[in-house]
Amino acid sequence: MNRLLEDRKAAFIFIAPAFLLFTLILFVPIIQVIYYSLCNYTGLTKPDFVGLKNYIDLFTSDETMKIALKNSIFFMLFSGVTQQIVGLFLAVLLTNIKAGRNLFKNIYYLPCVLSSAALGLLWAFLFNPKIGINNLLSTFGIQGPNWLFDTKGFIPLPMWVIGCVALWQYVGQNMMLYMAQISGISRDIYEASYIDGASRGQSFRFITLPLIKPMLITTLSLNCIGSLKFFDLIYNMTQGGPNHRTDVLATHLYTQGFKYYKYGYASAISMILLILCLFTTFLISKCIKVETYES
């Protein structure tokens, strides 16, 4: 009995750090944000309770919120699709080559470990109207588009540009996860399929794809949540401009909270963002069924 009690104490001590951290830096702030989202709060004066006004304003009279929501959903879909396809393609490619595998793995993964702020600034320079890509195009007599400042279209050009930069930066993460999953598939299954006359394409379709499904849920969830709360590249490349055309939920939140000091309103945006992230994760886990093929 004493030993059991001692074990409980030890368990408590070991759980305590994680519990404290979770409570202090996650649970308490979330509760605070829920309360602030129901207040008119500037950060400089005491919160003034206004009920659901912030949420009503968000969906009835905030034009930027509509743009931000549209852009965030676009970004999630674009990143979700492109990063899955390109990430899986690279993973399959690299698991099937021997020469230079590690070199290319590192090259593709390198942008993932670099600072997003630095990369954002780097790409902003490259897409600047006077220097970078347009300067290069002009030597061939081509006038490049206004990559980061074009405002035409339902999804303006800067959003596609930022989407492609995000793909370049984060595709390495999907590639690594898929490579790990593919490496775990027994070679025996492939060999058996080849003996049965399966082509490489068929073995990919009927063996690789079903067996990497668990990883699909993980990577898709990571992509979607990461894209929904995406901030750094957009902030460093366009600051949500011109005229909020490239604002996403996170940049809108930042502007409202840290530029206009409407912390209550910004908290309401963050709650919408949280709900969207939870809903997306729930949807992915419900929609993609994983069957166990190997014991």
Partner: protein
């Protein structure tokens, strides 16, 4: 027992280690001796010993890396302060870039770490610190305790930083928005300095035909575009426009504003091709590199122009923004002061005051005019031969000025209202909306947030 102690110690270390990783640093670069929140030091010859009374000053440029002559002057003030009060007071400087400045300052104010003295724009930016009680009331200090110092300031300089009769800041310099022009290009294109808006359009046409960009402007940095819009609004309707629209007596969609926005659209056809994406610095560089004939900017640009291309000073002329025929008083000028605010919670009032006085002493104010080309806020005598040539031109223009106004976006009801106006003007420029439609958005904002209809 030992095992339990070790496991308990390790758990505590883990918690503390993790929590220390969560601490927020407000270190923003710029100083050689930076060591975290509000303790960044300048790279002057004097270093803090830890025995003196230390204060913090927050500023929006990196004093060690800057090429801006005003910022360099501020660095000299800090170095002089630390030298003069060696062993008694010491000033630490927290710097950020301009874009991040309000956010970081606000975070410090919110967390109860307001810098003892910080720089602040007039208008809604200052208003929020006044209304929240973060800014100290300096009226008694200026008018009673330091009346001699107060007497050195030029008349009316405190007007835009006075709230209900209370002086809430001390200005360090003031800038006036003018049109800078390249005299070489004007000569080659055969154009004279335009006095009216129609003459300006005609000059732009001729300059364009001569193969030059008539006007360099940044719409990527929206306030640059909105400064031209502000001048057009004021030239159309005068001071009444701003007063009445803030008071709810006229609407943003009224003829005077629509005409101004239409003229902005008309004028924007003479901007450089990359105006939509160019930053303020790029637009200014277009001008001092000789690619564009005109630049509408505040007189702080003198420091930037002469600092980056000293040879350009000789061919840089200045004229006041042209009149609109049938419009309002053409001799009104957009002006703006840089202001020092003292924290209401500072525990080092004497030291903060000594620093503020040093920013406005004769040495600093002479530097402001003679080196940086900005207009002093005190009655200090200036050697015009030493000052940049543009300073004398602006001084000549100021002699005819009948009234002043603040930057339009900084004179509206709030920071967000100013941004909404800026955004509307960018929309007009980009062709995303007709002037009437763009101004309707500003009106909608005012209806909801300012007039509370």
């Amino acid at each position: 027992m030992v095992k339990r102690f070790v496991s308990g110690f390790l758990a505590a270390a883990l918690v503390l280690g993790s929590l220390s990783g969560c601490s927020v640093s407000t270190d923003t670069g710029g100083g050689a001796g930076s060591s975290g929140a509000t303790t960044e030091t300048t790279s002057g010859s004097v270093t803090a010993t830890g025995k003196e009374e230390q204060i913090t000053w927050m500023f929006w440029d990196d004093l060690n890396a800057t090429e801006d002559l005003i910022s360099k002057g501020y660095k000299q003030v800090i170095d002089r302060f630390n030298e003069q009060y060696k062993g008694k007071y010491y000033c630490n400087v927290v710097t950020t870039n301009l874009e991040e400045y309000p956010t970081k300052l606000n975070a410090l104010v919110t967390s109860g770490n307001t810098p003892d003295v910080f720089i602040c724009n007039p208008g809604p930016n200052l208003t929020q610190y006044v209304e929240s009680g973060a800014a100290a009331d300096l009226t008694d200090i200026l008018k009673n305790q330091e009346s001699q110092w107060y007497g050195t300031f030029t008349d009316g300089i405190f007007e835009r930083i006075t709230y209900d009769g209370k002086i809430m800041a001390v200005p360090t310099n003031f800038a006036a928005a003018c049109v800078f022009y390249n005299t070489d290009i004007f000569k080659k294109a055969g154009v004279e300095v335009p006095k009216t808006y129609d003459e300006l359009l005609a000059a732009c046409k001729k300059i364009k035909e001569a193969g030059y960009t008539p006007i360099s402007c940044s719409a990527g940095t929206a306030w640059c575009l909105s400064m031209i819009a502000g001048y057009l609004c004021d030239r159309e309707g005068g001071p009444d426009n701003l007063v009445d629209v803030n008071a709810g007596k006229i609407e943003w969609t009224s003829k005077t504003f629509v005409d101004a926005a239409t003229k902005l659209k008309e004028l924007s056809q003479y901007f450089q091709d990359t105006a939509a994406g160019d930053s303020n610095d790029q637009a200014t560089a277009n001008f001092y590199n000789g690619d564009a004939a005109m630049l509408v900017q505040g007189s702080w640009a003198i420091a930037q122009i002469n600092g980056n291309n000293p040879e350009f000073e000789d061919k840089c002329g200045v004229f006041q923004f042209p009149a609109i025929e049938g419009g309002s008083d053409p001799n009104r000028m957009i002006v703006k002061t840089d202001n020092l605010v003292m924290s209401s919670t500072t525990k080092h009032k004497e030291a903060a005051l000594a620093l503020m006085k040093m920013f406005t002493d004769d040495t600093a104010q002479k530097y402001t005019a003679e080196v940086a080309g900005k207009i002093p806020v005190t009655k200090v005598s200036i050697d015009y031969d030493k000052a940049p040539k543009q300073f004398a031109y602006i001084n000549d223009i100021l002699k005819n000025v009948t009234g002043t106004l603040g930057f339009y976006n900084e004179s509206l009801a709030s920071v967000e209202a100013g941004d909404t106006f800026d955004a509307a003007m960018v929309d007009v420029f980009l062709g995303n909306a007709e002037p009437q439609q763009a101004l309707q958005k500003v009106q909608d904002f005012y209806n909801k947030n300012v007039w509370k209809k």
